[in-house]
């Protein structure tokens, strides 16, 4: 597969082919790295931008130049670093400060290496370079990690999301979710209010009877007489039978059910007194209402 042009275009174009400038400093191409790497004032800007700080610069010098970073002329580097403060005025001063700190660290290490150590401390004192080495190693790790992350295929640069048109964007309307507790709290409020209208206070009842009342009514919805026994399901056991029986009594009490027995010990028949859905042609008792919920609270 051929390399597409898009890839090439992403790279910056360098007009010169014969010799690449190291950098452009103050409009002039710099073709050669200055020999005293850590010092040249003109190169400072290059370094500050080419390296991610003093650790990065030190790593570079160690890894690529085999430079003994500890064998640098401390007096000279210190003097020149101080000179840079002037140059830094119109540049990023916080970066310069970090390079100065690093120079100070190097100088300190060097001085400690040169000074004779007190005999008492000889065995215990750590190599002054150890901390710097540890920091360099740790930085190098994450520098590599950053490069690795940059290599990952990422959206926009290496791939793009695939999507298709959706001709019909009409959304489905779903009814709101209801939490059982929400409903119970609503009921509690009703009960609180109902306590004020005391005659309607609700007493505790077996809800299974209420449920069965509805079921029995549905069973009898043809408004024919049914055998009393047909309403019971033996498989439900004693409790089921009792619940059905109670619901029949309750329905009878509420005059929703008619119970008929021709003679003692004769079969018992039940018939629903509740009108069926066929009767819904009756005038709607709600028609005299506003149709809007009166505020409840």
């Amino acid at each position: 597969m051929s390399e597409p042009i898009a890839q090439d275009a992403a790279r910056p174009s360098h007009p010169q082919q014969q010799e690449m400038p190291l950098a452009v400093v103050k409009g002039q191409p710099v073709l050669q790295m200055p020999q005293d790497l850590y010092i040249p004032p003109d190169a400072l800007e290059v370094f500050l931008e080419a390296f991610e700080g003093p650790l990065d610069l030190l790593l570079y010098l160690i890894r690529r130049q085999n430079l003994d970073i500890l064998d640098i002329p401390v007096a000279e580097i210190t003097r020149q670093y101080v000179d840079y403060i002037g140059v830094m005025q119109d540049m990023r001063f916080e970066l310069a400060a970090e390079y100065l700190v690093m120079a100070a660290i190097l100088a300190e290490i060097k001085s400690r290496m040169l000074l004779p150590r007190p005999p008492a401390e000889e065995g215990t004192e750590a190599d002054p370079r150890a901390e710097l080495v540890r920091r360099l190693q740790e930085y190098e790790r994450y520098k590599k990690a950053a490069e690795d992350i940059d290599q990952l295929d990422r959206l926009d640069r290496d791939t793009a999301l695939a999507s298709v048109h959706v001709p019909d964007r009409s959304a489905i309307k779903a009814p709101p979710p209801v939490d059982l507790k929400e409903m119970l709290l609503a009921l509690r409020d009703v009960l609180k209010r109902a306590d004020l209208y005391t005659h309607h206070a609700i007493r505790r009842e077996a809800l299974s009877v209420r449920q069965r009342m509805g079921e029995v009514l549905s069973q009898l919805s043809d408004r024919q007489f049914h055998g009393f026994e047909t309403l019971f399901t033996v498989e439900e056991g004693r409790l089921g039978v009792v619940v059905t029986f109670l619901s029949i009594l309750e329905l009878a009490k509420e005059q929703l059910l008619e119970i008929v027995q021709e003679a003692p010990l004769a079969p018992i028949y039940v018939k629903s007194l509740a009108a069926t859905d066929d009767d819904t042609a009756l005038p709607d008792p709600s028609s005299d209402e506003t149709g809007a919920d009166a505020p409840a609270d």
Binding site: P4, I172, A186, L187, Y197, R210, S218, L256
Partner: protein, 218 residues
């Protein structure tokens, strides 16, 4: 240039572009020194169209070019990606539902008596449409008012095997102890904001899927 590669490029471009692409635009994807051969783009489009026979999307040509789109046949399912929640139920609706659950069979008049306020037709209709309550008969009194009861769907929604599993009314009286754990006692404004955030935060899919069947005419 390989026709397979050209087809892949055309397919990927059509899927990546936010709008339809013309053949001219597709040709523009290829560098000038290595253009797509004459006719290869049209061929790629034909191949892609045929390849969609068994897929959930199709390649269509519209006024501004070619695009892939969801096939109408699978749209009812895909549309559930954009499920919208209706506004929450009012207190009146919840109270009505609770009274029907606890006092069934019950007429609207009886609910009104207990609540002390009128119950609108819409409230009941809403619950009937949700298939949580139904008319189980009519009381044999003047006006033959409908008697309401809850359905199996109601029990299923709340994860109950029977109405017995609803807490006894006596416990409801003690609910204040229960209340602090519940989000409902927050000031209405705060609660509403929280709900709005929830809805905005979670993908609609996470809460989709309990009732509305996808059999929606499209």
């Amino acid at each position: 240039m390989d026709q397979t590669l050209i087809r892949q490029i055309v397919e990927a471009a059509l899927l990546a572009a936010p709008q339809p692409l013309t053949v001219t635009q597709l040709a523009g994807l290829f560098p000038e020194d290595e253009p797509a051969p004459q006719g290869s783009l049209q061929q790629a489009l034909d191949e892609l169209r045929e390849a969609c026979a068994d897929r959930g999307v199709e390649l269509v040509e519209v006024a501004s070019g070619f695009r892939f789109q969801v096939k109408a046949a699978v749209h009812p399912w895909v549309a559930r990606l954009w499920t919208e929640r209706q506004a929450r139920y009012t207190r009146a609706t919840l109270e009505t539902l609770a009274l029907i659950a606890y006092r069934q069979p019950i007429t609207r008049g009886e609910i009104e008596q207990i609540r002390g306020v009128a119950v609108s037709t819409n409230t009941v209709k809403l619950l009937e449409e949700r298939e949580w309550v139904r008319v189980v008969g009519h009381r044999d009194v003047p006006g033959k008012p409908a008697l309401f009861g809850t359905t199996k769907g109601f029990l299923d929604y709340f994860g109950l095997r029977s109405l017995d599993e609803l807490p006894p009314l006596a416990e409801l009286k003690d609910i204040p102890e229960l209340e602090p754990q519940l989000p409902f006692d927050t000031p209405a404004g705060v609660a509403a904001a929280a709900v709005a955030q929830d809805i905005a935060a979670q993908s609609p899919l996470e809460e989709a899927g309990e009732d509305a069947a996808p059999e929606q005419s499209s």
